[in-house]
Amino acid sequence: MVAKGLLFLGLSFVFVNVLMTSCQRLPGCPPDKECVRYMAWGNPEQLEVERQMIADFNRKNPDLYVKLFTVPANSYHQKMVMMLASGTAPDVMRVDMYNFPKLAKRNYFYDLTDLAVRDQDFKESDFFPAAILESKTTGRLLGLNVLGGGHVMYYNKTLMKAADLEDPFVLSQRGEWTFEKFREYAKRITTIEGGKPVRYGYVLPLWPGYVPFVWGFGGDYLSADKKTCLLDQPGAIQGYQFLADLIWKDRCSPTPAQGANGAFTFESGKVGMICEFMGMTPRYRKVIKDFEWDVCPLPVGPKSGTTFVKGNQLVLSRNTQHPEAAWRFIRYLTSEPTEMMLYARIRRAFPSRKSVAYSDEFLHPKEAPYQIGVFTQAIAGARPLPINDRWMEWVNALNSEVDNLIAGRERDAGVAMREATRKINKILAEDPDL
């Protein structure tokens, strides 16, 4: 009887509480302010930072109120598509570059060009060209870039010293950090004890992390107009053969089965080198306690040595009722003080502003990675990924062939790439909507 009474009391408490919040149209939004809804993804720590930034913005802009709501990263895209398709999208959203062209093509984003022209403090030249390039579609500015940055190589200094290898950063300064050197390093670090791999030199990154290796051999994915696949050309085949050989010939990178479930992650100390964005830094700083590490440029291939760059966009919904206010907010998110906090202190990603990237605070960190100029150099020469509105589709087709190659079911990269090219060309030739 007592239990039932308590249960009843507890439930009434819940109901009253929940009903109160659920009856407000937009909880937390003061009626005398212009409200801007902002949707973002991120893990709890990132969201905490986001919340602090918004609180700061709301304090500094008493006429506005930004309301953040967060969506789990893995479901963000689906939620956003539902909202865009039904015209219920929030004023400001984050969009992953992978999805940007196909959404831009459907005219879902507010054209920022005029807002940018009217805003006298906004100068495109303050930003890295790569950041501006990604945000534009046919000359119109559709978003402000929150640059992820270029891929660089993280390496385990302790393992390198133990294997008596010269620091790859030093090698790269001398221009000797080549694919061959990289392969040699990977082989030297790899340790097999009693038939069981203990350490690996390198872990092949997921798509598209390995793209610079294909470029390095002079290979490419799509033609300049992004309408034809070029993977059956010799450079691309050599690139994929090099990658597959790291696993199956040189045995210095784990097979998919060996590497599954984070058995060989960089932070476990069981891997010599990996390719990643700057965004990995906060995690590594937190978890890595028992070895030294830093970053160096990607090795240089026989034909070229460029890495790739990719960002995410801050966009406004086409249907927004508050374009001016929303513009002020995304300008704040890409302003110098904000970028200083996010990228110089937390190092969540690479800054999109040059002034931040070349600032003293950014270039002289107090914790690893110390060779931070590597990220800045990477951006300077980096290429964009061949992202078009069919990206998801042709990447899925490519990945199933690459699966065969890196799982060792197909040892000849030429066979796999010719098959991939055939499938991708078929997709690119089809009506995009059928």
């Binding site: 598509v81 062939e401 799982a407 079911r409 059928l434």
Partner: protein, 292 residues
């Protein structure tokens, strides 16, 4: 005894109401879209073109269908037998049975996010608990989720782990509903355990078996979450289940017309399979109180 038809309508009214407002319209909309080219921005009537292309020009459609049918063919019969076996086991008057039931039911309670990660670890080729057990008994160690030949068995195995879940509970509820007087009478007649099962348990449980069969088939054709979270269709599309391919077409490629056509093909398949099951059910499903 005549029963008023109006009263029958009144009882099912809540569902009819919900169906008319929330379900019928969206179903018809998707049927309409399946005859159109629709990319969320523009719409164009193209007749049966979506269907024609699925059948004649899309190898992945056939592959995903084949994968899904294979999965259903194994996971439904194996899963139902396993669930029934477990339910019989958990229906025995042994001390601590509520605790045992909970243990069997536990894997179904672990949220999908957590269980997807756990299953990836269990299927790990080198350190996974499954292969550790297989190795101790001297079997080989397949690379479950990385080897396209073993991906399907891995998914079927994983579905069997759910045998202690919802389906088992339904069987258990069905077993609880069988009056012990039947068994008492059978024991007086000298019937053994197997005979009791065959002549009493199975016939009286047949409505529930039928329910699990129909729902099992429908559910197995719509497997999505595990494939999406664990393997995302790989390796080499070995786990590209039908619903996953449909999802990709709808939300990643924005081919909503094609996705709708896929949905209605699946609908037709399931309607046919369910219809056949209902026809056959007249021979083996036994209701105590059918509407007269």
């Amino acid at each position: 005894m005549k029963k008023s038809a109006h009263v029958g309508y009144a009882f099912i009214l809540p569902w009819v109401f919900g169906f008319l407002i929330l379900t019928l319209g969206p179903m018809l909309t998707s049927l309409y879209l399946s005859f159109h080219k629709y990319d969320l921005a523009s719409i164009e009537f193209i007749g049966g073109e979506n269907y024609r292309r699925l059948f004649y020009e899309d190898p992945l459609f056939w592959k995903s269908l084949r994968i899904t049918v294979t999965y259903a063919l194994f996971s439904v019969p194996l899963g139902i037998s396993a669930s029934l076996g477990i339910a019989l086991l958990l229906n025995t008057p042994v001390k601590g049975i509520p605790l045992f039931r909970t243990f069997f039911y536990l894997p179904s309670l672990v949220p999908a996010v957590a269980s997807a990660v756990l299953w990836q670890w269990m299927f790990n080729a080198d350190n996974g608990i499954l292969n550790l057990v297989l190795k101790t008994f001297g079997f080989g160690a397949p690379q479950w989720l990385q080897d396209e030949k073993w991906t399907m068995p891995a998914f079927i195995l994983m579905s069997l782990w759910g045998a202690g879940g919802g389906r088992m509970i339904i069987f258990l509820a069905g077993l609880q509903g069988i009056s012990p007087t039947y068994y008492e009478a059978a024991i007086l007649d000298g019937a053994g355990g197997w005979k009791q099962f065959k002549n009493i348990t199975l016939p009286l449980l047949s409505p529930v078996v039928f329910f699990n069969l129909v729902l099992g088939v429908i559910g197995s054709f719509q497997v999505f979450t595990q494939a999406y979270v664990m393997t995302n269709g790989g390796p080499n599309n070995a786990s590209l289940f039908y619903a996953l391919y449909l999802f990709r077409n709808a939300f990643e490629y924005f081919k909503l017309g094609k996705a709708s056509a896929m949905a209605w093909v699946l609908f037709a398949i399931l309607l046919a399979l369910t219809g056949i099951q209902f026809l056959i059910s007249k021979r083996w499903v036994h209701y105590e109180g059918e509407a007269k």
